[in-house]
């Protein structure tokens, strides 16, 4: 612990120098390092005001960075990935063609009022990447670079940044990407490890769980260049991706149990932290809201189609289960370097990670993809439905006798 503290204090990022102790305190908190109460508490208010960094200081920062040996990017092709809202995936190749790429993406940190559960009127001033909870799915291949422009609109309340678990160094890029309202930054990181990984906001101190529990998290998928394989080296291909972000919300309540409403982002700050300390979420939802993937918003597929189900939970353990189906191939911990487990009923997604499961539909009908803590699935909202078309297979299942009264 003390060593980590020493490191964070001995090698502060340029950004933390520019900002005084703010970012350093956040970095230390992110590392779980010990720090004084004064460091941890002093700088943080519920509504940090934008502080413009003089242009010459930003240039100085770039110069410091450039003192490291330059990277030869001449063999790389620049491509732009247009991100799409979950539960869908951006256009991508399963098997990489051509040489390695620099994949340009843009993430805008949008703060917006979102309905969590229309039944109860529960709502949250969500903190988002590109306006959705979870943030968009980002896809690269091993060996590619991801070059992210992180943009914080001028009308935001909060400072934001991004920590990519798929990247290496600088707190996952978190230490290099702090942007206050009206700022933007560019970070490039190399995808050296194949798998599905969480990304999330981590602006420092208690702002870290506050931002994560307000929606700022998502998944990066780094595919092997030759695509996915089973444990014997045979190629595995999917027809579609179902990208699920499971979000635990801790919404403050009034005395009678109803949910509080707030006029602007950040007004819930103190109440939220108090609710989060209970570790008992009021909601655990897929795609940001109760019922976001059910009913008229249910997903559609067909018998014979293979779906890759990517599940992100940046904060809390969860246990996906496909009611009526299975996980044919499951990368539970997310690494595509490991052979997938096969034929699982339920798999664990550790808090702070993404996992992936592949399934080929064998029967038509309605499937429920749930967190199989069924309290969370049914009472807290962690349910998605998939309507699958096709021909019923009696060889797999048949109703022999319909329910009727027992003869007495």
């Amino acid at each position: 612990m003390s060593r980590l503290t020493d490191l964070s204090q001995g090698f502060p990022s340029r950004r933390s120098v520019l900002r005084g102790s703010l970012a350093a305190a956040g970095a230390a908190a992110a590392l779980g390092a010990g720090m004084t109460q004064a460091q941890a508490r002093a700088p943080r208010g519920p509504m940090p005001m934008p502080s413009r960094v003089p242009q010459h200081l930003i240039q100085a920062e770039a110069e410091v960075i450039s003192k490291a040996p330059a990277v030869d990017l001449s063999g790389y092709t620049r491509v732009r990935q247009e991100l799409v809202a979950p539960p869908f995936a951006p256009v991508h190749e399963q098997v990489a063609t051509g040489g390695p790429k620099i994949i340009e993406i843009t993430l805008e940190t949008t703060e917006k009022l979102m309905t969590v559960d229309a039944d109860t009127g529960a709502e949250i001033w969500a903190l988002t990447y590109n306006g959705s909870v979870p943030g968009p799915l980002i896809i690269a291949h091993e060996g590619d670079y991801v070059e992210v422009t992180l943009r914080n609109p001028v009308d935001s309340v909060f400072e934001h940044n991004i920590d990519f678990h798929s990247s290496t160094g600088a707190l996952g890029g978190g230490a290099l990407t702090h942007v206050f309202p009206g700022e933007e930054t560019v970070l490039r990181w190399k995808a050296t490890k194949a798998g599905v990984f969480t990304y999330h906001c981590a602006p420092g101190g208690e702002m870290i769980p506050y931002h994560v529990c307000h929606g700022m998290n998502g998944t990066v998928m780094v595919l092997p260049r030759e695509g996915l394989k089973d444990g014997k080296g045979n190629p595995l291909r999917y027809d579609e991706i179902l990208y699920i972000g499971e979000q635990d919300y801790y919404l403050p309540r009034n005395e009678d149990g109803t949910f509080k409403k707030y006029a602007v982002a950040g007004d819930d700050y103190a109440d939220s932290l108090e609710a989060m300390r209970t570790l008992v979420p009021t909601h655990s939802v897929f795609n940001g809201a109760v019922g976001a993937l059910t009913g008229d918003k249910a997903l559609r597929s067909k018998v014979g189609s293979t779906v890759l189900m990517i599940h992100n939970q940046a904060n809390r353990d969860t246990r996906p289960h496909l009611i009526g189906g299975h996980g044919d191939f499951v990368w539970e911990a997310g690494s595509f370097n490991d052979a997938p487990a096969t034929n699982l009923e339920t798999w664990l997604i550790r808090g702070g990670s993404s996992g992936a499961a592949m399934y080929t539909f064998e029967q038509p009908g309605v499937y429920a993809y749930v967190n199989h803590n069924l309290i969370e699935a049914v009472l807290l909202g962690a349910t998605a439905h998939i309507v699958v078309e096709g021909e019923w297979n009696n060889a797999l299942m048949e109703q022999v006798v319909k329910p009727h009264s027992i003869e007495t």
Partner: protein
């Protein structure tokens, strides 16, 4: 949870005991001066069989429910949902509905009850949407055929009484997002002849629903066999005669 909801027998006991003694003992204890009318806005509706039924114009409101709770008739206290009194009372189980009926009948000396399924659908037919085509037609998929995928039936957010459709007779909100308990026991093959021993009742709404008598909130998730109702409430009827 209501203490009487411990078992089916408990439910039966509640219904019989309170209904039987309501006019005499209950009224004497709670209202020493005898029955006191409680205002219920009734509309006369002629049913297809020629019978006239007096039907409550609105669903029982939060204001009504608060009176029942304050007078000790209704166990359930409704939370302050940041809404006005003129919203429908929701979060009501069949047991809660029976408590309300026992209370209002005892208090006012009336004979209100829940509608039957046939009565409810006769009353509501003109404002109900057409039944959507099933998404599956194969007999093996009848379990999934009623799944609602085409359009959201109604916005799930609660609205004040009267903001959904009005029937020719003047009844409101039958096509709203509150499903109303009927007294009709779910009966798959006509064998369930004892109405006092019923595990699940039919609810009237824009799609027919069957729920355990204990359910107050048909949570929007979990099982894949369809979308549950949004909210559960009730509406009074009383028989007028032919």
């Amino acid at each position: 949870m209501s203490p009487v909801a411990l078992s089916l027998n408990g439910l039966v006991s509640l219904g019989l005991a309170v209904l039987a003694t309501g006019a005499a003992l209950g009224a004497a204890l709670l209202w020493p001066g005898g029955p006191q009318p409680y205002p219920v806005d009734l509309v006369s509706v002629t049913l297809p069989d020629g019978m006239t039924l007096a039907v409550q114009r609105t669903e029982v409101t939060r204001r009504d429910w608060a009176v029942c709770h304050a007078e000790g008739g209704c166990t359930l206290a409704l939370p302050d949902l940041d809404t006005r009194d003129d919203y429908p009372a929701t979060g009501i189980s069949y047991v809660d509905a029976q408590e309300y009926l026992a209370w209002i009948n005892t208090r006012s000396g009336a004979a209100y009850r829940l509608p039957t399924k046939a009565e409810w659908y006769a009353i509501a037919a003109e404002v109900l949407p057409e039944t959507p085509d099933p998404i599956f037609t194969a007999p093996e998929l009848s379990w999934a055929a009623a799944y609602m995928v085409e359009t959201p039936t109604v916005d799930r957010a609660l609205r004040p009484t009267g903001e959904f459709s009005t029937t020719t007779a003047g009844l409101v909100d039958l096509d709203g997002n509150v499903w109303e308990w009927t007294q009709e026991c779910y009966d798959s093959d006509g064998s369930r002849t004892d109405p006092g021993n019923c595990p699940a009742f039919i609810l009237g709404g824009v799609h027919e629903s069957v729920l355990s008598y204990l359910v107050r909130d048909p949570a929007n998730g979990g099982c894949a066999s369809g979308l549950p109702p949004a909210h559960l409430g009730m509406r009074l009827v009383t028989e007028v005669g032919v």
